[in-house]
Amino acid sequence: MSERLPARQGEAIRRDRRIRFRLERRTIAAFEGDTVGSALAAAGVTITGRSFKYHRPRGLSCMTGSCPNCLMQIDGIPNVRACTEPAREGMRVERQNAWPSADRDIHGWLNTFSFMMPPGFYYKIFQHPHWAWPLVEPYIRSKAGLGRVPQEPDHRRRRRINLHPDVLVIGAGAAGLAATAEAAKAGASVVLLDQGREAGGHLLGEASSTLRSALAREALGSRARFLAETAAFGVFGGGLIGASGPDALYRIRAQHVIFATGAVEGSAVFPGNDLPGVMLSSAVHLLLHRYGVLPGRRAVVLTGDNVGYSTAWALKDAGAEVTVVDLRSDGGWPEGFPVFAGATILSAHGRRRVSAVSVGTVGATSGQKVSCDLVVNACVQTPSTNLLAQAGARLVFDETLQAFLPDEMPDRMWAVGAVAGARSPEASVAQGRLAGLEAAAGSGHPVDAASIAALRSEAARSGDPIVLPPEASAASGKQFACVCMDVTAKELTTAAAEGFDSMELLKRYTTITMGPCQGKACMASSQRLCGAITGRSFAETSPTTSRPPWVPVEMGTLAGARLTPRKETTMHDRHVAAGAEFMWAGDWRRPHHYTTPEAEVAAVRNRVGLIDVSTLGTFRIKGPESVELLERLYPNRFSDLAVGRVRYGVMLNDEGVILDDGAVVRLADDEFFVTVTTGNTAALERWITWWNADWGLDALILNVTGAYGAVNLAGPRARDVMTSLTDADVSGSAMPYMTATRMAVADVPSLVLRIGFVGETGYEIHFPSAYGEHLWDAVMGAGRSHGIVAFGLEAQRILRLEKQHILVGQDTDAESDPYEAGLGWMVKDDKEDFLGLRSLRDLKERGPLERLVGFTAPERWLPPEGASVVREGAWVGRVTSARRSEAVGGVVGLAWVPAEWAADGSTFEIQFGGSHTIGTVRIDPFYDPRGERLRS
């Protein structure tokens, strides 16, 4: 069967372009335009994989990506649908779930022992004795499943694309193309999706390509945007439609949605219905007309209406010998074939491929044997209503078509074509055009009312009643209701007898419709079987709830690009050059240390150091009511803060809990400069702007973090360095502690704050961030003769701890109030109102239960942050910060302790793991307790 049929108009393959790829150890010759599946069929490969549970051989069945039979590992990616995957030069294709090969899989014995695997067998068997299950489970797991998960990271770039057209058309078959053409012609913006490479849907399998070409020209020649190989997989809240395309996830919000999702064929249920060589008519049409492959020489076609005869004709024209099994007994079918009337296929025979079928009347256990190498199911059409159901459409059983069809559609949504019961391309086109016009009209584009009326009559459903094959065959042998999960008709009967007698229960118990096809291939047959077993008609059963994804979506497509925000200050390269070790501070990269934290601490205490503090959150607050805003936001008072002065402030929420702290500078009567903690900046911006929005004060809040860079120059020689950088008077008398001055520093216009987190004479220089490297170089250069060092976060943490300066979020938590944290001196509770005032009154009256206190401890053991403070073996507090301090000698730290222990000199026990130590409370800062160095 390596021969192709003669070339024909409209085929997909380019016979002048040959390609080759590997199927395991074989080389497969193919043409450009082939899919992996069509190339394998042309090469005579009948077994495309082994089944999930019983390792039965399976072959091509649908050619539309709707069934699980040809899932393959392609270039390392598992579960690729080979029947629709384009063949590419050099690709590596492997069949799954088989060893050593799909042709001779040693686990085929599982098929023989299937009686040991009734539905839910893993709940029933091997559970006793208990010790056996852990031994058995890994084996079962290794035998089941599909493909191998690739171990390498996926480096493909995935995009996430948002679209918001007037009209979204899902499915580019006859109905979808017609809808697109009309809506686009009327002026609406249209997006058309199809999972195939080419538009056409069922028309692609037709012998003549005339209608398809005409519709495609009309629709795709318009301004509509066609996304090929893009499948809508789900309808989400607010009408969002998700679609996955080549390396892209589309999120589509359309004003109007036209579902032209077509129908999927299903197989009749009879023993051997899963054998390679048993196909759906869609596969036969596509193989013949698109790929020039004759899928069999002796074919038996099973059908219940005249549509099946077109398949029979197509096969006969291509040179096959065809027998028709017609489920109808009342005649009226076309001439030209030997026909078994009023008959069905009772069973199919063969080991690795179908070799014969038994044909007889419904209910018979044996019949006439007809030898064949191809069996075509042209008898069950299931409208693809899943997306419709997700969108909220109501489905109602249609007796004529023997299918569930959309009845009421939600607003601004239409179902057209085969999904809505159209049985001819003409009806599909009429329905599509009508919906396209109505959608365009709905988006405000003028359309012709007369043509809408004319289309309405054309678009009505019509056709002879369909006769479906029996729910199952009376012949013996495994007949599969669900090929994905290897569920047989008999297993459904067993499960129903055990009480799982509705579709939703059967689904959960037997896993029917839960496989890779998501019920596409098996929903209708499962429903009918369920009905037959429980004494209900098809109409009385209902499909299981439809949930995304309707088509398989790669995890990577959903995950999208992996983004890790990372911020660097404008001095970052200088830190790198100085050999800094970096750490994360929120999204920022900050130097942890350059040399050693201890050396950096010593340099700041004895000489001078420089730290990049650009990551501090900074705000400018301006406006006539900016004082009022700050008065309400902080417990501190700011109305009496003079221009050019700095005040330390702490922000509370209305529970009186500490949110943040920082410096507040009055730049002018109506303007302030506020700093907040690095990691809290975004939250504080939301907090401040929210209250300002609620209070409606005339104040403008501008987050200038990142617009300003900042460095802190600190140490006994900081003033000497500063003097050489600016003409301004930076002496202690001209610029005392807690003041701020605008000046040029190294010719850069700056705002300089005399504050000192680290407890030495300090100048915090804020400047336009673009000057970062210039300023860093200038300060380091000016400080060289004074022995300046750059210091990192760790040194800063030691330095601030020696001063008992707290870090909000480190030393405080969601229950810390200012009284307990030792910041009660800031609270001006005589103010009219501020956030937290009412709560603080209660807290003040009650008095502190716990206190945040400084403590010293012996050098030998450094308690970690979070170590317990204990009393008589019980937890009563915790250590929030602790470091070894050379200046103090020993361990210094901060801890929450019961209020009665907060007196200077009290001792308490600290424990962590097996270690413990004794802490001694120290109320005043460990280093420079009177703050003389800081103020100097």
Binding site: G237, R251, D654, T689, W690, A693, G696, R838, S839
Partner: protein, 96 residues
Amino acid sequence: MTFLITCPNCGPREALEFSFGGETTRRASPSATDRELAAALYFRRNVNGWQTEWWVHQSGCRAWFLAERHTTTNEIRRTYRPQDRPRDEEQEAAPA
């Protein structure tokens, strides 16, 4: 969480661009009773239906605004700037 919200400054945008500020509440006054304070801090109406609530366009203009959203369907029938609040809504009482 995939619905659209119309920012009064920027127009309709994906909900993911916004941060939620919760239903509108009224702060307890400095002279509030314990019960009023507890109600203002910890109790919410948590309605099943239309609710006026705060949103901030975090990944956009970063402005706070008010929205009337149906808490079951996520339909938003109105958004507006806080200065366009009707007087009575501003004075909306917290539940007792």
